[in-house]
C-alpha cells in the first residue's frame, strides 16, 4: 500500500527542495520587472523575494522606501504594491499566469527590462548616478578586455565612481547573477545591437557560465574597469 507513494513523495521532496533553494528570484507575475527595476539598485533581490507580508505592511515598506529616496509614479506604486501583496503576501500566491512568460523564449529587449529602471528605456543613462549604455557599450567592447568587463559587470555588479565621456557617475550597479546564463547572453547581445564594433562575436551562454567560476565583488569589477582604456 505504501510503496506507490514513495516515488511521489521523493518527487515532492525534490520539488520542495528545488523551490526552497531557488527562492532567490521573484515569482513570475505582472509587475515583477518593475519591482526588479526599482528595488535592485539598493537591495540584493533575495532580501525582497523572501518576505511574506500583508498588503498593508507592504504598503508601509513602500512608504519607507519613498522616504529613503525611491521615486515612483502613482501607477508604478500601485503596480508594485499589487505584485508584492499578491506574490509575496501572507496567502499562497495564485498559480503563475499561463506559463507563457516562462516557456516562450525571451528576447534581449525583454531581458533589458531589468536594466531600464536605471539606464533608461533607450540606454540613455540617468546622470549623475547611472551612465548611458547607448554609444558607450560600443567603446567598451572595442577596448581590450572590455568584452569580459561588460559581462562581469552584469554578473557581479559595480560599485564606485566611474568616468564616462569625461563625466563622473557614482551609482551602484547590482549583481544580476540570478539571471540564467541564456538571459545574460541575450541582454549583452542586445546592448551590442546599439553599436557593434567590427568583428564582434555574440556572447554565448557558455561564456557566461564560465565567467561564474570565480565570484567577484563589485569593487573587484571596478578595478577591472580601471584597467581598461576607456574614454
Amino acid at each position: 500500500m505504501k510503496k506507490p507513494f514513495l516515488p511521489l513523495g521523493l518527487l515532492t521532496l525534490g520539488l520542495a527542495g528545488y523551490l526552497a533553494l531557488g527562492q532567490y528570484t521573484l515569482p513570475e507575475g505582472p509587475g515583477k520587472d518593475l519591482v526588479l527595476a526599482k528595488c535592485q539598485a539598493c537591495h540584493d533581490i533575495g532580501f525582497v523575494a523572501r518576505e511574506r507580508l500583508s498588503r498593508d505592511r507592504w504598503d508601509g515598506v513602500i512608504d519607507e522606501m519613498v522616504l529613503r529616496g525611491l521615486s515612483l509614479t502613482p501607477e508604478e506604486r500601485a503596480a508594485i504594491l499589487d505584485y508584492l501583496a499578491t506574490y509575496l503576501g501572507t496567502e499562497p500566491p495564485p498559480a503563475s499566469p499561463p506559463a507563457q512568460p516562462a516557456s516562450s523564449p525571451k528576447t534581449g529587449a525583454q531581458v533589458y527590462a531589468n536594466c531600464q529602471g536605471c539606464h533608461g528605456p533607450q540606454g540613455e543613462g540617468n546622470p549623475p548616478a547611472f551612465p548611458p549604455l547607448r554609444g558607450h557599450v560600443e567603446k567598451i567592447l572595442k577596448a581590450e578586455g572590455g568584452r569580459t568587463y561588460l559581462l562581469l559587470s552584469v554578473l557581479y555588479g559595480l560599485q564606485g565612481t566611474i568616468q564616462v565621456e569625461g563625466k563622473e557617475y557614482a551609482g551602484i550597479m547590482p549583481s544580476f547573477a540570478w539571471l540564467p546564463d541564456e538571459e545574460v547572453a541575450l541582454v549583452l547581445n542586445y546592448l551590442a545591437t546599439w553599436g557593434t564594433p567590427q568583428g564582434f562575436t555574440p556572447y554565448t551562454p557558455e561564456e557566461v557560465k564560465a565567467a561564474r567560476a570565480k565570484v567577484l565583488s563589485p569593487e573587484e569589477v571596478l578595478k577591472h574597469r580601471q584597467g581598461l582604456k576607456l574614454p
Partner: protein, 407 residues
C-alpha cells in the same frame, strides 16, 4: 498509480535528485559564501544579504566562543557598503577626517590618526543588532530574518569622545540633548545618520581597534563611534561627522526605521502595537532602538543535542544595557513553574555579557530548558517574547527555550 515498478521508482527518484541538484546549483551560482563577500570572514556565516552585506553567526559558532567573538565570526549588519571595505583587515586612518560640531563652543575637525596619540580606553561590550531574534516574532516582521546570531561580545579600544573634547578644550552646550553621528558617504554611499541621548556621552568611544587588532574595515574601521550599552545600529561605522543637537535627527534611519512603539512618559513592559498591524511611527509615539534590552542565551546544551545524564551542565550568557548589574539568571525545566538559580561569572555592572552556568539533575528522556535573567533594576525577560511584537521585529528578548535529550 496502483503499482509502480522498480524502474519507474528509480526514474522518479532520479528526477527528484536532479531537481534537488538543480536547486543546489542555482544556489551555488547565486549566493557567494561569507568569505567570498567579505575577505577574512568564516565561510560558515549565514549570508542574509549580499548588498549591503548582512551576515549572521551560526548559533553553534557563537556558543562555542563564549568568551569573545572574533572578527572572523562576528555578525555584520551594514546599511552602507563602502567600496573596498568588505574585509576584516583594518582601514587606513591616514587622511580620515572627522568633524565635530553642532551645539559646542568651538567646532573642530580631527584626523583619525591623531587619536593614537591620546589616552586609550578599552571596553568589552555586547554588540547586538536590534533585529536579532526577529524570526521568533509571529506573524513574521519584515527585514533580514535574524535568528539569534546577530550578536557578539567584543572589546573595543580607542579614545573617549569626552577626552578628545577635553584635549581640544571644547565645551558642549547644555542645550545639547542628543549626539548625532554621520557615516562616511564615500563611493556615493547612502546617507546613514543616528542620534542617541546625550547621556551616552559618558561612555562614548571613538574605537580604533577591536579585540586587540585594528578595527576591521567591514566593522567600521578606521574609526567607529561606539556607545557601550546601545544596540548595534547606534554605533556608527566609518564616522565622519559628530553633532551635538537639541533634537533627534529625522532621517529615515531614526524615524521610522529602528524604532519601537512607546507611550510617552510611561514605562510599560510591553509595546502598544497589535501583532500584524501597522503603526504610524513618529518621534513622539515611539522611541529609537537605543539601550540594549535585558536578554539571556543558552549556549549548552544546544537545540536537539543528546547529552550524558543525569547531571547536566547548562550554561550561557546574559546581558543588559550595563546601567545596573545582572543579579540573577534562573533556569527552569518545567515550563516556568519552578526556577533554579544559576551561578554568575561576575557580579558588577558590565557592558559585556556575563557567563552563567548551573548543573541540573535530569532523568533520561526529552527535556526543555528555559533561561531568564534579572537585573538590579528589577527588569527581566517576558516568557512570551511576542508581547513586544512590532512590525519590524526589533528588540526581541523573550525567554529562550532549548529542547534536548538526556541519554
Amino acid at each position: 498509480m496502483e503499482k509502480v515498478d522498480r524502474r519507474t521508482t528509480l526514474k522518479l527518484m532520479g528526477m527528484g535528485a536532479a531537481l534537488l541538484a538543480a536547486g543546489g546549483r542555482v544556489m551555488a551560482q547565486q549566493t557567494p559564501t561569507a568569505d567570498q563577500l567579505v575577505k577574512g570572514k568564516n565561510a560558515n556565516l549565514i549570508v542574509l544579504s549580499q548588498r549591503p552585506v548582512v551576515m549572521e553567526t551560526p548559533y553553534d559558532l557563537l556558543a562555542s566562543n563564549p568568551e569573545r567573538t572574533s572578527k572572523e565570526i562576528l555578525y555584520i549588519r551594514n546599511n552602507v557598503d563602502l567600496p573596498g571595505y568588505n574585509t576584516v583587515e583594518g582601514a587606513s586612518p591616514q587622511g580620515w577626517k572627522v568633524e565635530v560640531g553642532g551645539l559646542v563652543d568651538k567646532p573642530f575637525t580631527f584626523e583619525a590618526s591623531e587619536l593614537f596619540a591620546l589616552p586609550q580606553t578599552e571596553v568589552t561590550m555586547v554588540l547586538q543588532c536590534s533585529g536579532n531574534g526577529r524570526t521568533l516574532y509571529n506573524p513574521r516582521p519584515s527585514g533580514n530574518p535574524w535568528q539569534r546570531g546577530g550578536v557578539g561580545n567584543v572589546t573595543f579600544r580607542g579614545v573617549r569622545l569626552q577626552d578628545i573634547l577635553a584635549a581640544k578644550g571644547v565645551k558642549v552646550s547644555e542645550k545639547a540633548l542628543f549626539i548625532t553621528a554621520h557615516a562616511s558617504r564615500q563611493g556615493n554611499a547612502p546617507e546613514f545618520v543616528r542620534s542617541v541621548p546625550i547621556h551616552a556621552l559618558e561612555n562614548a568611544l571613538l574605537a580604533l581597534s577591536m579585540n586587540g587588532e585594528p578595527l576591521p574595515a567591514v566593522h567600521g574601521g578606521p574609526v567607529r563611534l561606539v556607545f557601550p550599552g546601545y544596540f548595534g545600529v547606534n554605533n556608527v561605522k566609518w564616522v565622519e561627522k559628530i553633532e551635538f543637537a537639541e533634537g533627534e535627527n529625522t532621517t529615515a534611519e531614526q524615524v521610522p526605521r529602528y524604532r519601537v512603539p512607546a507611550i510617552p512618559n510611561t514605562h510599560l513592559p510591553f509595546l502598544p502595537q497589535e501583532p500584524g498591524k501597522r503603526y504610524p511611527y513618529t518621534l513622539q509615539n515611539s522611541r529609537a532602538n537605543w539601550l540594549v534590552t535585558l536578554n539571556s542565551f543558552i549556549f549548552a546544551p544546544l537545540e536537539g543535542q543528546t547529552v550524558e545524564g543525569p547531571y547536566v551542565r547548562v550554561e550561557g550568557v546574559a546581558f543588559n544595557d550595563g546601567i545596573v548589574p545582572i543579579v540573577s539568571v534562573e533556569v527552569s525545566t518545567n515550563g516556568g513553574r519552578t526556577w533554579h538559580q544559576a551561578q554568575l561569572s561576575t557580579q558588577g555592572k558590565t557592558f559585556g555579557w556575563v557567563r552563567w552556568r548551573t548543573t541540573l539533575y535530569l532523568r533520561p528522556g526529552e527535556h526543555e530548558v528555559m533561561a531568564r535573567a534579572w537585573d538590579a533594576a528589577g527588569r527581566s525577560q517576558p516568557l512570551d517574547g511576542n508581547i513586544a511584537w512590532n512590525e519590524r521585529g526589533y528588540e526581541y528578548n523573550g525567554v529562550m527555550r532549548v529542547k534536548f535529550s538526556v541519554a
